[in-house]
Symmetry: C2
């Protein structure tokens, strides 16, 4: 049996994004000499030129397969085609709880050896927002507050989770946190809104 | 006259990061066919292997030149060697106001055609925090609150700015926003703390 169109597209483009994600990490950490770096840079420019022969305009956006399956593959948090995304794999439990487990490398650094506080805010925005998001009924962030208890380390397994505290009309009040093996590092609460469809 | 060690290092590594930053954008947007993608992927893996011959462990961290000049070049917001960073160039006015002007592309997408709300939070965390940051006296985020007025568009010139509202001991209370040509899109306030040196 042939795979779905979604599986076929994923098989083509996901390995490329994974390779570029590794290259991003290595570009930050390499101590190669000037001649090596220049030669590699020229080869990367050729690779970019070749891939540029055919591009979508602007950004990936929300694309669909012919079967109507949605792809948000350019998303900076979850996009499997975005080499700048970790990417998070967001799980929805039957009780409405949302969670993701991940480890962050050199590309997410703020204080030396630690995840940038702003990256923690970014991931919590996404995971808290996912409690409100329904297929075909997206939610946008109204407000988000993050409270930092201590530093979040690079290279250690992390878990982000969130749940709904209460609903008020079009508003979802969500809470959550990021934790490592020693407990919570950052807490968050936010209000997410289903925009009125005109 | 020879350039400084900082200038020399920048001349080697910044163009590489710029090339990889372009490749990240193109990886998201390419519609190249499977054979082309596979061939390019293999070339990228070879480039990564070559740059990997010599790497710093873990992350870039805070490195210094022999003259003692600090480099935070791996930072996810401002790091000029981090292809996942926009990177922001943060300006400090004499009155303490901090600002940066930038445009965000496909790698920062959330809602189709728009900057991910979490990216806005990440950038505001950094720019507000920069009002408290002094050389050799870093500040960490205590709390950050972001309020979203409307969507922030990809591909349009943006400006983030922040200023100190008040100081209380080791705490800096900062406020700021992101704006486009039509006005403010996201507001933020935060508390940033100078950790006690033991």
């Amino acid at each position: 049996m042939a795979g779905s169109e979604l599986d076929d597209l994923r098989a083509v483009y996901e390995p490329l994004a994974q390779s570029v994600r590794r290259l991003v990490d290595i570009t930050i950490r390499t101590t190669a000499d000037a001649a090596t770096v220049e030669a590699v840079k020229n080869r990367i420019d050729c690779a970019s030129d070749e891939l540029s022969a055919s591009l979508v305009d602007g950004s990936f956006g929300l694309q669909h397969t012919r079967d109507g399956e949605a792809m948000v593959w350019g998303n900076v948090v979850i996009g499997l085609r975005n080499p700048a995304a970790p990417p998070l794999k967001v799980h929805h439990d039957t009780d409405g709880r949302v969670w993701a487990e991940f480890t962050l490398g050199a590309a997410f650094e703020g204080p030396p050896g630690h995840v940038h506080g702003g990256v923690c805010a970014m991931l919590l925005d996404h995971v808290l927002g996912a409690t409100a998001h329904k297929p075909g009924k997206p939610a946008v962030t109204g407000t988000l507050t993050t409270r930092y208890r201590r530093g979040t380390r690079l290279g250690h397994p992390l878990r982000a989770e969130a749940w709904v505290e209460r609903l008020e009309g079009a508003k979802t009040f969500a809470v959550g946190h990021i934790a490592d093996a020693d407990g919570v590092t950052v807490e968050a609460d936010g209000v997410f809104i289903h925009p009125r469809v005109p």
